[in-house]
Symmetry: C3
Subunit: 260 residues, 3 copies
Amino acid sequence: MSVISLLSDFESVYPAQMKGVILNIDPNAVLVDIAHDIPPQDIAAGAFALKITVPYFPEGTIHLAVIDPGVGSDRRPVLVESGGHLLVGPDNGLLIPAAYKLSQDIIVRKITNKDLFLTVSSTFHGRDIFAPVAAYLSNGFKPSDIGDEIDDYVKLDFATPQVKDKRVLAQVLFIDGFGNLITNIPGEHMLNFFNYNDKLTVEDRIIPLVHMYTQVESGEMLMLIGSHGYLEISINSGNAAAQLGLGIGDQLWLSAHQSS
Amino acid sequence: MSVISLLSDFESVYPAQMKGVILNIDPNAVLVDIAHDIPPQDIAAGAFALKITVPYFPEGTIHLAVIDPGVGSDRRPVLVESGGHLLVGPDNGLLIPAAYKLSQDIIVRKITNKDLFLTVSSTFHGRDIFAPVAAYLSNGFKPSDIGDEIDDYVKLDFATPQVKDKRVLAQVLFIDGFGNLITNIPGEHMLNFFNYNDKLTVEDRIIPLVHMYTQVESGEMLMLIGSHGYLEISINSGNAAAQLGLGIGDQLWLSAHQSS
Amino acid sequence: MSVISLLSDFESVYPAQMKGVILNIDPNAVLVDIAHDIPPQDIAAGAFALKITVPYFPEGTIHLAVIDPGVGSDRRPVLVESGGHLLVGPDNGLLIPAAYKLSQDIIVRKITNKDLFLTVSSTFHGRDIFAPVAAYLSNGFKPSDIGDEIDDYVKLDFATPQVKDKRVLAQVLFIDGFGNLITNIPGEHMLNFFNYNDKLTVEDRIIPLVHMYTQVESGEMLMLIGSHGYLEISINSGNAAAQLGLGIGDQLWLSAHQSS
């Protein structure tokens, strides 16, 4: 009996079908949704959401993640072992940043034990392959019962922040429910170039780097290192994504503001 | 102690009130949301969502479903037994397609044991009647403790696909989170008239019938038999409902495309 | 082992991070979402949602609620004991109406036992302070292990309905998923001034006070005492908030309609 977390880009009845399949196999599994509102087929956004969330789950958790634009093709199903957690999903990079966040020492297996699958549709491997595999792992199956190790799995790296002439290029990786723009710049990287209370030029705006939202007036823009460890651009009591018209994948140059 | 699934057309605090009521009566019930984003008061959409989801749940599951535009009127509350599952909700057809999906042999009872109810409001029988009844069933009450059999319950059939001059009329029953249009045409019915890789005329468009999304280019339209067993109209990596401007209940004529 | 309910104004991965933290500390906690779709930073809307929901949960439930615009400032974290329930969250009034709904006899403590916290970020005390405190309480910690009583906690009262020249001023406290406008007027208060089947003038409209939605035609407006005990303004089979263009905080004068 394990905790099984679920992440996908499909809402409504599809997560419930996966949960039904799991409870059929392991009635004692503890099911926890991570998120089902990942933008459709956005593997990088899903990988980021998974990466910043898995460290808070107990050792032994099985993470079932399905952002799967290649479903039905020859895209492989994989199981990843890392830091006492298991991750199950498609071989498209989705699981890899989370696995490396848990430990640098990961094992990736191709899922080949078809005895565990439901009748496999060509459109919903989350229900037909990944959910039963997760449930049998929760029931005590060993990773070696699922398939053999591979080393040519699909990797995924978030864009490394580019630096040029003391300017840093940030890319929006995720937008949360408040409209905060979460970028690919790790906090420690940001603090190599800038200091707290610096004012930065972000495209044509001047925005301070602060510790907390309430350091600026309501409605004002700010940047801070978020609770996920990455630079985010926010508006105190406002929605930065809506006001700036920015979305996942958009890029922004940051530089120290030269007061005239 | 049972799995209790929940389906409704109300989000936010109302499902939580039902869950609190259930846990008060059976602290060990395992609660699983099927969906709470059914379009308000759309009994057919709720019935379809329930029908395609209940078969994945374990025998013994109690399905609590509330799409209830007649709440407060003399609409009866019912309990349905089918295939080892129990279904609880309003007598407006909502539960019937799911019950017949589980087995052809169903028993419908009018819920009359008022000792089990909370004080009954005129607007939220999900919380005041259906949730406690589901919880007492989970606690070991028998269906015969809840009420007597009836046979004049409200039935609901999804529109049978019409066929005319080798043309088939499809109706949109459900739209999923990707914008896929799920129609009332069962897969086996579709394959009586058409073959995989046929190109079909759908109103003024030509759309191929394929096995998987990735058989067409990104952004292109396709039809396939979805994981729920029904014909769906989709766009690979796109949102068919938004692009075609179609909603639940809309109808489309399909015919073989005559290449000129 | 307890039921732990969760309410917040943040969706997607953040509730999951809180749940992971809790399951790390108490693997047997039963997690139930109350709502995560509270309008961002709307303490009053969150307090209302909590107040109308907590009474349905079993004694012993721990309610973890986070609407926290002051996070990172010197806003205090608090634990409230009332009627056998525990409530954990920020000292901004959010928990107080729910606590007084459970019992008139409440104890408020400042959370000071930092040994229980994760490393505290300046932006997410829900995960770093409130979730672990809730989990340790579920594990058997006593309120007195968490911190000492205070009596200068932040209070929150919903606007008392104003009455002037037989007119009553209603304020919209909450809008549910159907678009029903839930006001600050308790049912018993309403019935001091008006009777069922009265027609009322609401700004420039005439709306009847009825018992149930189906007493008016589909598409017609109505007022009723909702299942939460407050006056609500609704449209039978329609969305009152959208059609009237009203939001949380908006005010409306009600008076008896003088037929001419």
